[in-house]
């Protein structure tokens, strides 16, 4: 019985791990090819006399992401959201609107919640990022806010949920969860198209009540 379970664990890759493996593999193999293609394109442009699009210098970003030191060599156009998803295989933060309007990409930067889609990754150099993947305890035990979202059925499709939870944790830490009205105001930057707002408000209030709104 015990043996069976461990065998099952061995061969089971969940969806996230599969995606991570695919992304990291793609980054390793495709990146040099992309560079070659760009070179070929600019050579072709130079030959026909069209001014080549300037190739921006890559920028090094060193940051601490979920407690781990990370060093990335990036095109300076890259958003923090794309750095997380496309370069680090962290798919928790979601790309909803990509313009800072929906909150699905919310992460913590130096302890403050931000829209990672409107944060140029180069501005994260030397700073600390916390994403939904870093929220649970080292033993995998859920953060009280994750637990509360389950308790209150605070989601339907789940797409906005990582952003909601990161915003909710910050909302309580800021001391903005003293009443339903406070929560509604402080959480207004996170849209939920399924309309799970009642459950979300209850979840945030539950956690604020557990620790008196102090953290």
């Amino acid at each position: 019985m015990v043996k069976k379970e461990s065998e099952a664990t061995k061969v089971t890759l969940n969806r996230r791990e599969l995606l991570q493996a695919a992304t990291l593999g793609a980054a390793a193999t495709v990146a040099p090819q992309m560079g070659e293609t760009a070179d070929a394109a600019s050579q072709a442009l130079a030959q026909v006399g069209t001014p080549a699009v300037p190739t921006p210098a890559r920028v090094l970003m060193n940051a601490t992401i979920n407690g781990e030191r990370v060093s990335l060599d990036l095109d300076p156009r890259t958003s923090l959201l794309d750095a997380l998803r496309e370069h680090l295989g962290l798919f928790g933060a979601k790309k909803g609107c990509d313009h800072g309007q929906c909150g699905a990409c919310t992460v913590h930067l130096d302890g403050q919640r931000v829209a990672s889609c409107l944060t140029p990754a180069v501005q994260v150099d030397g700073r600390e990022v916390l994403t939904i993947e870093g929220l649970a305890g080292p033993d995998g035990s859920l953060h009280p806010m994750q637990r509360a979202f389950i308790d209150h059925d605070a989601l339907q499709c789940g797409y906005c949920t990582p952003g909601q939870i990161m915003a909710a944790v910050a909302c309580v830490a800021e001391g903005n969860a003293g009443s339903d009205a406070d929560v509604q105001e402080a959480m207004s930057g996170n849209l939920c198209r399924c309309g799970a707002y009642v459950g979300i408000t209850q979840a945030v209030r539950q956690v604020a009540g557990q620790d008196g709104g102090a953290s």
Binding site: P54, P56, V114, P120, A170, S188
Partner: protein, 335 residues
């Protein structure tokens, strides 16, 4: 997004030199919530970005009873909105920030950059379709909002070339308090009244303010005002939170009993720039603050409005917004 060269500034003097050296395509990057957003839409296409985030000495906030408020331009909207002394001395200033955007964006955006936030006009932003003419985005191409969908557009300060709304709140509140901004450029420092910072569109809607491209806002100052605490920023939106103003009013009133000694009124959400309403202010001096005088002030504040097809509602809304703001500020003055 177009490629650009990224430069991390080491100091404010270093930053203005770097933007000057970059020529026409150089831009300062502060919080990024406007510039980076518009770069994604290809509305902004700088060739050089000079990052001023994290520069030392640009985030200090001080409130002094005699000299007033000094705010470093790189302080975040959150830092100023939640500063207890700011809220005590000028509640309208704190509210103008806390009622803007979302907490996430307020944590990112700087109060200096916020002053120069660009319009939300859908024809300007394009939202992925830049085929509509827009004089602001492409000088001389025309204005799609005049005669187009203009529910959110300005009824004051527009021209035949542009009716795009100035979307901000903070600058409106600063206008009510006669704030100034201090700037740095390779040519030195200067101080500009908030009233001289933003321009009406006129024939050149793409020129939105009076700063030079290599001129950096370093500090925002607000002179002390004895009745600053009797103020409010009252903002009406399509939804209760996280939306731009349909109409807003920054109001402060100095009361002697029930009689107005002096009032300050500035409008947001209705004009092409922050809109100080001096005729409305004068109409209240020496008058009791009652429903009739408050409404009359609102009517004077929006006088001269020239609404289009879809934004006529803003006239009555602005009148009531001013009147309600006067009542709230008055209650704070005479608790």
């Amino acid at each position: 997004m177009r490629p650009f060269t990224y430069v991390r500034a080491q100091s404010a003097p270093n930053a203005v030199q770097a933007v000057a050296a970059a020529g026409d395509g150089g831009k300062f990057l502060a919080g990024g919530t406007t510039l980076y957003d518009l770069m994604k839409l290809d509305v902004e296409a700088p060739t050089t970005i000079v990052d001023i985030r994290g520069l030392e000495g640009m985030t200090d906030i001080t409130v002094d009873a005699t000299t007033g408020l000094r705010v470093g331009a790189m302080a975040s909207m959150t830092e100023v909105a939640t500063h207890p002394d700011v809220d005590r001395a000028f509640p309208a200033l704190a509210e103008s920030l806390s009622l803007a955007a979302s907490r996430q964006l307020r944590n990112m955006a700087s109060v200096g950059g916020n002053l120069l936030q660009r319009t939300r006009c859908a024809y300007f932003r394009g939202n992925g379709d830049l085929s509509y003419p827009c004089n602001k985005r492409e000088p001389g191409s025309g204005c799609s909002a005049i005669g187009g969908l203009n529910r959110g557009h300005a009824v004051l300060g527009g021209s035949d070339a542009c009716i795009a709304l100035y979307p901000g709140d903070w600058a409106v509140a600063l206008a009510a308090f006669d704030a100034s901004i201090e700037t740095l450029s390779p040519r030195g420092t200067r101080t500009i009244s908030i009233h001289d910072l933003h321009r009406e569109p006129g024939d050149t809607p793409w020129v939105e303010h009076t700063l030079e491209p290599d001129e950096l806002i370093t500090t925002i100052t607000v002179p002390s005002l004895s009745y600053g605490r009797a103020s409010t920023y009252y903002k009406i939106r399509d939804r209760e939170s996280y939306a731009f103003a349909l109409a807003s009013a920054a109001v402060a009133v100095d009361l002697d009993g029930d009689t107005v000694r002096e009032a300050r009124i500035a409008l947001g959400g209705v004009a092409t720039r922050p809109w100080r309403a001096r005729d409305a202010e004068r109409s209240l001096a020496g008058q009791p603050l009652i429903e009739r005088t408050a409404r009359q002030a609102g009517e004077l504040a929006i006088a001269g409005a020239s609404p289009g097809r879809h934004n006529r509602y803003k006239v009555e809304l602005a009148i009531r917004t001013v009147a309600d703001a006067l009542r709230i500020a008055g209650e704070r003055g005479n608790p």
